[in-house]
Structures are given as structure tokens and as C-alpha cells.
């Protein structure tokens, strides 16, 4: 993802997709975001298996024999000459995150609500920057996060690269 150095608005923190993890025993995947500035913060978002797969394909820049649903979205916006300016994760309610996709066409800006997984799948394919609002970072439920991180560190200590450094 190409990222701009200065956020377009105050209160936005630039993030990037770090990795997609499999959650054992369930049909879900965990999308892990990391801060663009390198400061330690793993931000997990639980997503569906299909959504996780779509993000993985974009991360690995895998060419699929058929265009996927998100490739089609990219193709549609390109045909209409619409640019994906940025993705903002701007709300959280009961551990559910909400994203907004900022679009622009000939100076006309529009925002569209989306699940973070769809928004990020499109952002990766269109090289659009990803932001999380400070408000969301402050309000997210970190109670489960610490135990989750501890579990991940145990499980992945040998296979995964460490992102957390003090």
C-alpha cells in the first residue's frame, strides 16, 4: 500500500495490513493491522473465512483464474474513473468495527459504508491508504486483546515474525 505521510484529517492514524491468521476450530479468520509508523500495536479484527481469503489473495498479489468479487469492485470503480482515496475505520460497537470508503471522481467526493474486510480488500487492490480514528483506538475493547495477544505470541513465537517491540 502506498501511504501518505500526513493523514488527511486530524485524529486519523495510518495502519497497514500485517497478516491474516487462521483461528483454530472456527470458521473465522483474524485480520491483524499494524501501525504504519512502526509503533507497537497489533490491531486484530475478526472476519469471516471468505473475507479473510479475499484479503489474503490481495496481500499475496495472487492472480486468480477468475476475477473475484473485489476484483470486480475495483474494475467497476476504474471503469467509472472513481478513485479510492482512503479507508477509515471510524466506529466500533460491541466489538464490531465499521469502515468508510472515501471515493473521488472529478472532485466529487463520496463516502460509502462497508465492513472493514470489504473496505480493506478494496484498499489493497487499489493501493489506497488505511486509517483508524483515535476515537476507535480509544474505545476498542482491549480486555480480550491482551489474552489474545499472549495466546498468539505463544503459538506463533517460532513461525511468525514479532511485531511487538518495546
Amino acid at each position: 500500500m502506498s501511504q501518505t505521510d500526513t493523514p488527511p484529517e486530524q485524529g486519523l492514524i495510518a495502519y497497514k495490513v500485517d497478516r491474516v491468521l487462521d483461528e483454530t476450530n472456527t470458521d473465522t479468520k483474524i485480520l491483524v493491522l499494524a501501525r504504519q509508523d512502526g509503533r507497537s500495536d497489533s490491531f486484530p479484527i475478526w472476519i469471516g473465512a471468505a473475507e479473510g481469503h479475499a484479503i489474503k489473495l490481495a496481500l499475496d498479489t495472487t492472480l486468480t483464474p477468475r476475477p473475484t468479487s473485489h476484483d470486480l469492485i475495483k474494475s467497476l470503480v476504474e471503469h467509472l474513473n472513481v478513485k479510492v482515496r482512503r479507508i477509515v475505520i471510524g466506529d466500533v460497537k460491541n466489538s464490531t468495527y465499521y469502515a468508510t470508503v472515501h471515493l473521488e471522481n472529478n472532485g466529487v467526493e463520496r463516502t460509502v459504508d462497508a465492513r472493514p474486510s470489504d473496505a480493506i480488500s478494496l484498499a489493497l487492490r487499489t493501493h489506497a491508504p488505511l486509517y483508524v480514528t483515535e476515537d476507535v483506538l480509544a474505545r476498542r475493547n482491549t480486555a480480550n486483546l491482551d489474552s489474545w495477544l499472549a495466546k498468539q505470541d505463544n503459538k506463533n513465537s517460532t513461525s511468525q515474525q514479532e511485531v511487538g517491540e518495546s
Binding site: 468479487s69 470486480l72 472513481v82
Partner: protein, 151 residues
């Protein structure tokens, strides 16, 4: 020549562990079965049953983007069949210009249902599809297999 097709149903195919979207023309002469994955079947089923999901699903998001710029889906055409793979085109109208975008039939149909746009099939596709084999296959299915979707 193109023929308008209607969505007859969605079935589970246990042999291939996939779903089949069954399209049929007005008078039931032509039938087109299209095998799709579980996620794609879910996207079609939700639009068929008019279920409003608590969160916008991928094709709802797709539709929202088109709506944001007032782009309209005019029609969807199943244009080709090659080694059991179907190809589709989405016809869009945006600012007095028409655009044609390639898509998988499952995505195209999921979007057409959300846009109340008609679905057509090219005659060459209908001719290629040997309906004989399909009819035999369909005869073995029980009526209750139709319109069902395991989720």
C-alpha cells in the same frame, strides 16, 4: 440474439459440494445451470429472499459504490461458456455513457438482483449448454431440493 433468463432457484449439489444457480427462460424451454461457490450462493440467496443483512455484504457494498455516483446497472448478459465456465458482462449506465464490465456470472447475478436489472443469456451459450443432460439430472432431484440453501 439474447434471451431473458429468470432465476428459478438455488440448489445444493452434494456431489461437487457447490451450489447451482438455475436460470430459466420465460416459457421454460431453456435452462442454464451455473455452479457457484458457497459465498457466492449466499450473496445470491440473500438478494432472492430479500434479506437485509445487519452489515452490508460484499455485493451490497458494490451496489452502494454505484449508487454513490448514480451509476445504474442496465443489464447482465451471460456471454460465453467455455469448458463448464460461464462468462458474464455487466452493462452500466453512468453520466449518459454505457460501460461494459467483465464479471463472473455469480457476481453479475448478485449485483443484478440488487439492482432489479434483467439477466440475459446469449443464444450461443444456450445452444452450447446441452439441456438433455441437465434435465436428466434435474429429474433425480426432489422438489424440496429447490430454493434451499444450507448456511
Amino acid at each position: 440474439m439474447i434471451t431473458q433468463m429468470h432465476l428459478k432457484g438455488l440448489m445444493f449439489d452434494p456431489y461437487n459440494n457447490a451450489y447451482i444457480v438455475v436460470l430459466r427462460d420465460e416459457d421454460g424451454q431453456e435452462m442454464l445451470p451455473i455452479w457457484v461457490g458457497k459465498t457466492e450462493a449466499g450473496a445470491i440467496s440473500m438478494a432472492l429472499e430479500n434479506v437485509a443483512p445487519p452489515r452490508p455484504m460484499t455485493h451490497d457494498f458494490m451496489k452502494s459504490i454505484l449508487d454513490a455516483y448514480d451509476a445504474k446497472v442496465i443489464s447482465v448478459v451471460i456471454t460465453d461458456l467455455n469448458e463448464n465456465t460461464y462468462f458474464a458482462k455487466i452493462h452500466l449506465m453512468y453520466e449518459d455513457s454505457e460501460y461494459t464490465v467483465d464479471a463472473r456470472p455469480s457476481d453479475a447475478i448478485a449485483l443484478a438482483l440488487r439492482s432489479n436489472a434483467p439477466v440475459f443469456a446469449k443464444e450461443t451459450v444456450l445452444n452450447k449448454q446441452s439441456s438433455e443432460e441437465l434435465e436428466q439430472w434435474l429429474e433425480n432431484l426432489k422438489p424440496e431440493d429447490f430454493g434451499k440453501l444450507d448456511s
